[in-house]
C-alpha cells in the first residue's frame, strides 16, 4: 500500500519545528508502524536526507518509549496498544497519517518526535519506591496480601510510564501515571509504610514539573496502553487527601 505522512520535524529543543510531508510506497499491511518508519528512514538516508528521529526499544509494549501521537490518538488506533503494537493494516491505502510528538510542558520536544520524559523519572525519585531493602521474594504466606489488593496492585503495576495519559489529557495532567505508581505501592504491605509521604511528595513533584490538574474527563484511561483506569485516580485523591489531613510534615 501507499501512504502519505505528515510528520513533525524539529532540529532541536530550541528550534521552531514544522510539519514535513513524505510519501511512502510499497508499505506492507503486516508491517508494524515502527517498521514503516524505519523503512521511511532508510529511504531518506539513501536520498541523502535527514531521517526522522523517533524513540523505540522493546517492541513489545513494556518499555514505554515508543511515544507517538498518531492521527489524534496517543499510540495510534486500537485499544490498549502501544505504538509498537500498531500495524499498517489499521490504515487505509492512500491515507494521510499525521504523526506528532507528545505535547506537554513537562515533556519538551528534543528532536522531531522524541520528547524528554525525564519528568516521570523525577516524579519516581520523589517517592515511587520503598526505602527499606525488601529482600528476595518472601516465602509464600509469610506476608499476607488479600486477593483483591493483590490483583489491584498488579493492575496498577502494569503502567509502563509511557506518558500517553499526559499526551491524551487536555490539561497535560500526569495524574493517571502518578495514581498507578502511588496505588501499586500503597496496596502492598511493603509500600504501605511510606504511603502518605509518597503521595505527598510525588504529587508535589508532578505539580512542580508543570503538569496540569485532573478534571476527570477520562481521556487518559481510553488511551492508556495498559488499561489503567481512573478509579486509581480516585484512590490517589483519597491517599493524598488523607495524607494532607494527617501528616505532620
Amino acid at each position: 500500500m501507499k501512504i502519505k505522512l505528515n510528520i513533525w520535524k524539529q532540529a532541536n529543543a530550541k528550534a521552531k519545528g514544522r510539519f514535513e510531508k513524505y510519501e511512502l510506497d510499497g508499505v506492507d499491511t503486516e508491517m508494524s508502524f515502527l517498521e514503516m518508519l524505519d523503512s521511511l528512514n532508510e529511504k531518506l538516508i539513501k536520498e541523502g536526507k535527514e531521517p526522522v528521529t523517533f524513540e523505540h526499544d522493546c517492541h513489545e509494549a513494556i518499555c514505554g518509549c515508543c511515544s507517538l501521537y498518531i492521527n489524534g490518538h496517543p499510540h495510534g488506533p486500537g485499544k490498549e496498544t502501544a505504538t509498537c503494537q500498531v500495524h499498517m493494516r489499521s490504515f487505509k491505502d492512500g491515507e494521510t497519517i499525521t504523526v506528532e510528538p507528545w505535547r506537554a510542558k513537562g515533556f519538551p520536544v528534543m528532536k522531531d518526535l522524541m520528547v524528554d520524559r525525564n519528568a516521570f523519572d523525577k516524579i519516581m525519585s520523589a517517592g515511587g519506591f520503598v526505602s527499606i531493602d525488601a529482600g528476595q521474594a518472601p516465602d509464600a504466606n509469610s506476608i499476607l496480601v488479600g486477593k483483591i489488593d493483590a490483583d489491584k496492585a498488579f493492575d496498577a503495576a502494569a503502567c509502563i510510564g509511557c506518558g500517553a495519559c499526559v499526551a491524551a489529557c487536555k490539561n497535560s495532567s500526569a495524574m493517571l501515571f502518578v495514581a498507578a505508581k502511588v496505588s501499586q505501592l500503597a496496596l502492598l504491605p511493603q509500600g504501605k509504610v511510606e504511603a502518605k509521604r509518597r503521595a505527598l511528595n510525588m504529587v508535589a513533584k508532578m505539580d512542580e514539573l508543570g503538569f496540569g490538574s485532573c478534571t476527570n474527563t477520562g481521556a487518559c484511561e481510553v488511551e492508556c496502553p495498559k488499561g489503567i483506569g481512573i478509579d486509581f485516580i480516585a484512590k490517589l485523591n483519597r491517599e493524598y487527601l488523607s495524607a494532607s489531613f494527617s501528616e505532620a510534615e
Binding site: N71, H73, R103, A204, C214, N216, I230, A234, Y240
Partner: protein, 224 residues
C-alpha cells in the same frame, strides 16, 4: 497542610466541596420554586419571604455567596494553569472519546455565570434592594415575589427562553460535575463510578427538568 491549598489536588478539592455545596443549594432552591406551581402564589410568597428574612438565612446567604465565588475563582485559576501545561497544541485535535461536557466545564461554567448575573439582577436584586410590590397575607405585609416571577415568566417569552437555555447549560455542567465531585474527594471506585454517573444524571434531570418546567408552566397556563 500549607502545601495543600496550592497543590493541584488541593485546589480541585475546593472545586469539589464548593460544587457539592452548590448542588445542595439547588435542591433547596428548586423545592421553594416548586411552590410556584401550587395555589395562587400565597404559599410561594410565604416561603420566599421566610427565606429572605429569617436569621439563619442571613448567615447562610454570605456562605452561599462565598461558595459561588470560590468555585468560580478556583475554576478560572485552575483552567488558566491547565492551559499553560500544554504550551503548544496538536495539529490534529484529540480524537479521544470523552464527554463533551467534561471537556468544556469552564465554557459551561462561564455561560452559567452570565445567566446567573441576569438571574440575580432580575430576581434577587429586586427583592433585596428594589421596589417589589407588597401584598397582605394573613395580616402580614409580604413582598409579592410571586407576582414578580409570574410577571416575568408570563409576559416575556424571550426571558423564558434565556431561562431555559441557562438551565440546559446547568444540566450539562451537572452531568459531569456531580460524579466528578465525588471522584475528586476520592469517594469513588470501579463499582461506584457507574453508579455515581447514573445518580448524577438522575439528579441533573430532576433539578434541571424542574427548573425548566416552571417557566413552561406559566407560558402554557397563561398563553390561552
Amino acid at each position: 497542610m500549607t502545601k495543600f491549598f496550592t497543590s493541584s489536588i488541593g485546589q480541585k478539592f475546593f472545586m469539589s466541596i464548593t460544587g457539592l455545596f452548590l448542588m445542595l443549594f439547588l435542591i433547596v432552591h428548586l423545592t421553594i420554586n416548586s411552590l410556584l406551581l401550587f395555589g395562587d402564589g400565597t404559599l410561594f410568597n410565604q416561603a420566599a419571604n421566610f427565606m429572605s428574612s429569617n436569621p439563619v438565612m442571613k448567615v447562610i446567604e454570605p456562605i452561599l455567596a462565598l461558595g459561588f465565588i470560590l468555585h468560580i475563582i478556583y475554576a478560572a485559576y485552575i483552567t488558566l494553569k491547565n492551559m499553560k501545561a500544554r504550551p503548544k497544541g496538536y495539529k490534529i485535535t484529540t480524537k479521544t472519546k470523552a464527554s463533551w461536557a467534561s471537556k468544556n466545564m469552564f465554557v459551561l461554567g462561564t455561560l452559567i455565570f452570565i445567566f446567573l448575573v441576569i438571574h440575580l439582577a432580575n430576581f434577587f436584586w429586586k427583592v433585596k434592594f428594589g421596589t417589589v410590590e407588597t401584598v397582605m397575607v394573613e395580616g402580614k405585609e409580604l413582598h409579592d415575589v410571586y407576582a414578580l416571577v409570574a410577571g416575568l415568566f408570563k409576559g416575556w417569552w424571550w426571558y423564558d427562553v434565556i431561562y431555559i437555555v441557562g438551565v440546559i447549560f446547568l444540566f450539562l455542567h451537572l452531568t459531569h460535575g456531580f460524579w466528578s465531585a465525588f471522584q475528586t474527594i476520592g469517594w469513588d471506585n470501579e463499582k461506584w463510578m457507574p453508579r455515581l454517573k447514573v445518580i448524577g444524571y438522575i439528579y441533573s434531570i430532576i433539578i434541571c427538568g424542574g427548573f425548566a418546567f416552571i417557566p413552561l408552566y406559566f407560558l402554557i397556563k397563561y398563553a390561552v
